[in-house]
Point group: C2
Chain length 134, copies 2
DNA sequence: CAATCAAGGACTTATTATATCTATAATATC
DNA sequence: GATATTATAGATATAATAAGTCCTTGATTG
């Protein structure tokens, strides 16, 4: 199991948008080019972030994407779950008597990871990143 | 991204083996049947645990699998890594200037999860599990 | 109205997960 | 020693998911 590339694209795009103007949108063309991915594919990914309410899109000439929330509201977990979904990483589909003790441990572990992703904001990283592309 | 079913099979099998005799091996036939999976496939999974040194196999009649370590030495992480591998869950393959700050955060988060899986032993669960199949 | 841009549906391709089948090698029992 | 039993391993098949393309539609700007 690995995080998908889509998640990586999403995270890097968000970092760019946080560094960019909160007013003037950035076109997907530009965002895609800097990451070496096709605009149509990246567009599909960003649409999920739009639906999650994290960014907003502007159609038409000079359109693109920009943040729709305050920087400090956006956590790693928000972005990841918008792309990967919120389903648990481990699901035991056996029919046990009661609950699955193994699954309980796995979920605890997952929560440790999520907890860290939830308390880390993308803006924390943006400060450190002085390079344009990240 | 999800943990594979193979990991689930491995964890449940290990739990069974911990509850079973440390001397008399349990046949894959029996292990497979109780989990509703084919013996050949489960065998492939268990072979990885053998190579990881967690269990040992006994060929021939009345053969099967049994623990090769002390119960308390076996952690969730051991089993999971034997099946899923030890590669990081997140790998940024972009060519940044230095390191990827996003990847750093992701790895930190992953370590939180691993830390919990490392300190939780399968034997802890085995005690609670009074049902034969888990 | 023409150029520009995102959204979305249908489709393709690549990769990984989940097996199955068959042959081989090891071991116990008779 | 012969036979039944059992794990190992290679080749192959199928299914699911990831990753990406293509084309059309609709919104917006100038």
């Amino acid at each position: 199991m690995r995080f998908t590339k889509a998640t990586n694209y999403a995270l890097h795009t968000m970092l760019t948008l946080i560094a960019a103007s909160p007013v003037t949108p950035v076109g997907v063309q530009q965002l895609a080019e800097s990451q070496g991915v096709s605009p149509t594919y990246l567009s599909k990914i960003l649409t999920r972030l739009v639906k999650a309410g994290m960014i907003e899109s502007v159609s038409g000439a000079n359109g693109g994407y920009r943040l729709s929330r305050k920087k400090d509201d956006i956590t790693f977990l928000d972005i990841i779950q918008a792309i990967e979904g919120t389903a648990s990483l481990f699901e035991c589909d056996f029919v046990h008597g009661d609950e699955c003790l193994i699954q309980d441990v796995m979920k605890e572990a997952e929560e440790k990871m999520e907890s860290h992703l939830k308390k880390t904001k993308l803006a924390d990283i943006a400060q450190k990143a002085n390079v344009s592309l990240r």
